[in-house]
Symmetry: D2
Subunit: 142 residues, 4 copies
């Protein structure tokens, strides 16, 4: 049975049009840690056939943001105020898996990191590393 926070993240994820458009899937939600998967395909590619930096950023930022949100009270949500991402290797493979983890949870600001791995068969390669600052805001629904 899922926690209330995990249900909330799942419902919110389903309302994110961009994530549907690029084919992202929510894989796992735990307190302080969220995982999102993306299969490379026509709707997330750039001109050389790799996954577009924008799509890699989208899943990494979303994983980091939801990781932060799982540690928030129910009447608060988070917005990304800034992030930095390093692209470490071409984003190719059967699937990309982004896991966001909270580095420091705060009342106003939370810092989270996400690592994105490209997975093909038995091999797993780190392709991106993101660090984000999230700000807590009041909300009606996510």
């Amino acid at each position: 049975m899922e926690t209330r926070q995990a249900e909330r993240v799942r419902a919110s994820f389903g309302r994110q049009g961009l994530l549907q458009a690029i084919g992202a899937t929510l894989i796992d939600v735990r307190p302080g840690s969220v995982t999102i998967e993306l299969c490379p395909g026509p709707s997330n590619r750039q001109q050389h056939g790799y996954v577009h930096v924008g799509a890699v950023s989208a899943i990494a930022d979303t994983a980091a943001g939801y990781a932060a949100q799982t540690l928030m009270p129910e009447d608060r949500t988070v917005l990304t105020t800034e992030f930095k991402i390093n692209l470490l290797a071409p984003a190719v493979g059967e699937r990309l898996v982004a896991t966001g983890e909270v580095v420091k949870a705060g009342r106003t600001l939370t810092v989270a990191q996400a690592k994105v791995y490209a997975i093909s068969g038995e091999t797993r390669k780190l392709v991106a590393l993101l660090t984000a600052t999230l700000i807590a805001v009041d909300h009606a629904e996510d």
Copy 2:
């Protein structure tokens, strides 16, 4: 009549599946400066109805990258090695306009910035500021 570099950017842009999926349009290509537009819609939204940070990042990073590419020799292309983006205001409006400009062109590394404005009628608001490092690589085609 367009320059050879502008034609090359246009052809490359058309092969970027992600940019088509989210509805981005290439508006302007000049030496060291490229502009991309995005109209908010279902395929680029997040859960609160704003344009998703991933989509804002995609047009900003692409504008910065192509700005760098316009200053490269024909046998070279660029890859983003890292970027940082600050989200300054909610990305809402009739359209978003991202303009990338080269800050420092180098043989190996080029640094470029992109500003993203939200435009509604006569009002124009800065919603994001991105700084990217691009690396020059050999290429067959973009």
Copy 3:
């Protein structure tokens, strides 16, 4: 005659031990813009004789932070929550000049940029570009 905000920045600057240790000087304070100068010397060098990235960061971050502070009410001060800096060219020359400017002032968060130029005689070269997020906090004195 200086404004109250400029006096406040000047008094605060004088209490910054690190800035004295590395030889930084406060040059100019205006609403939303602050300039700091550093002459390369033994106390701010790295192993190749350039100014150390830490010293370049110190003057750039301080210029950005004070630029943000000039736009704050008297009972508020700012702390840097994060910054990103690109080193664009070796920091050598007769002097380095860092100017911080506010990009977006907010009640809680302010984003500012600083550009650092190396100046030798008539030549001026951009050597670093910093983007910082500052958070407003209550204070007794700066």
Copy 4:
């Protein structure tokens, strides 16, 4: 007995005027990991008595850079091209300890992270997280 790479880092560290001026000490050098310590004092403080962000950045960037250098051939050294640092808590305590670790080593670019902890007695608190991109260059000496 130290490795050749550790000796090289030690000799280089001793030539860094800024690090002497702020009171930094090289603690540990291993392949892909370097640790630097700083005791808070007058030469590294800002106006509120915390360690200055510039000093925190200096030890974090230096630890990350030397970590990258330990994995380089002897005829190559590294320069920081950019970094991003998040300040997670006020830098106060008996001493600050920065450890840099290589995230991805490359022929041209290496990405490294550094974590800075404030240590007081038995307590250890993460106060800063830095991610840097280093570029390999030829060198005579470090």
